[in-house]
Amino acid sequence: MNFDILGSLPLIVIWLALGVVGIIIQAFVRSDSTRLVYGYYIGTLVTTGLLAAATISNQGTAFGGMVTLGGWAAVFDLLFCGAGVMAMLAAQAYLGRFNSELDEFYTMLVSSVAGMMLMAHARNLVVLFVGIELMSISFYIMAGFFRSRDKSLESAMKYFLLGAFATGFLVYGMALLYGATGTLDYSVMLKVIAAGTARFPVLLALGAVLLTIGLSFKIAAFPFHQWAPDVYEGAPTVVTAFMSTAGKAAAFSAFLAVFGVIMPMVKVASMTPTLQLVLAVISAATMLIGNITAVAQTNVKRMLAYSSVAHAGYMLMGIVAGTTFGQSAVVYYAFAYTFMQLGAFIIVGLLEREDETSLMISDYSGLYRKHGVFAAMMAVFMFSLAGIPPFAGFFGKYMLFYAAIESGFTWLTIVAVASSVISVWFYLGLIVKMYFSEPNPETHEANAGLAGISLAVCTVAVILLGIMPRIITGMLGN
């Protein structure tokens, strides 16, 4: 058995750090060791991220074909670990203010990163399933982390019930795919599907549909998006920041791999309402619903939640395209989206008061007077989310639109442009509120602390990625 030790290091390191060393540290070090655990887990994520970056060119498979190494999976690792570090930097002060900073929060955050990495690396449905569940279970817990708050607990409950419900569809889809192809391994499955020798084409189609439903839930695509605003609103803001970005990127990494496998059946089996078309419709509906509903929101957290739904719709365009270019467009957009949305949520978290107020759009009026830097950063994120050049969001959308047109989905691009225009309304609305309204006398003092590092990174990344998009697209050297 060929075993690529270097390539599997990111996976091994995070497993050991979380499952062995982390436990020992927490078990044998004094109970007020939050600082130590905090530093330890940041170190873990940084190390894992660096290892992933170092192994991008080290492509191959390991553990008996269970996981893929290097390539896009490693690029995604970098994203997950980076987002994890930024969320952790922002979390410390935030949780401290709410008086609920516990070591376990960081454990959960790192274990969700481990789950995401499994999803990106999976080359077998078993690994994908375990990864999705590891991530989701960590998220359920993090969403309910403010146990003394009704909203947080309710968000956890809703997320848990609907998430577990969606898991049912996901595994049923996997079971039917297994039944149709007789294998759980992506590469074997791809061979069977591409050759058109699947034993039971009907089961294959049903399985693909159910799997799409399950994954659509995880990325909050229409019509399975209703949970997202409620869960994102109720969860602690740093958790929302993390799960609406890295969590979504992880689901897309799974989407990319799985659709790489089941897409060929569109060409082989003569199914008239093809999977591609269904996905295109889902994509169009998702962005329209997300953007139109976001216009009506008065709560910033909820507005951003709907905007996150809309962005899942944009990213789906790259999967609809199904081309290599579409794939790199999705990866690029995942990075751009993570930076801008994470940054925006971190600012929301900083301005949030301990009694969960100061979350309304009206609370942001005249923000630039008191928090000039925050307002400027927020403006950058909003411009980028709206897709205005020269920020990363613009270039990402450009790539996605181009990919869709290239593969003949011009109508989808038109819908996407239209919904982008709608989105300008509320993104710029917030900027106008921040800069051209009378200051809100109740804006409280906010101290960025460590979160400032995350914000600086996000801002720089959003600008830099917009100017030099090849940073991401060139990572694989093509």
Binding site: G19, L134, P201, V202
Partner: protein, 173 residues
Amino acid sequence: MNIQVILFSVFAIGAVASAIATISSRNPVASAMSLVAHFFMLAGLYLTLEAQFVAAVQVLVYAGAIMVLVVFVILLLNLGKEQQLAERGSVIRLTLGSFTAGLFALVIILALVASPTGLNHLAMNAVDIGTTEAIGQSLFTQYLFPFESVSLLLLAALIGAVILAKRSMKEGA
């Protein structure tokens, strides 16, 4: 009549009946007990499929561990009978939901009836792959990676359950 057919019919009817009892019973404890019965019926079905080890684990894990937890929580919360089974949403919504679900079942079942899989007999080696030995061998060689990953999952769930269910925040954390 073939003994296999009888066994399958008994377990299948039992599984369906207990599943319906689970979702329709007013008393949560009765629901839980029906679910336990359902798990036993499924274990029986696994035996007709020669999957002995899965059948044993089904009883141990589901009936023995998960349901104990569920019943424990039901008793802890001292839940009474539900006055109204379903109040969530409007009647229209519920009928619509059930209708969609029924349609979904119809699609799957019709699809299977329309194009039968044509597999009428278990594979020759079905007896061999269901044994503890075969499963253990596979679990610790080919499936080692997901197996180890599941340990992380259980660890995360363990920590999370303690954190969420603990009574107060800063208490010897």
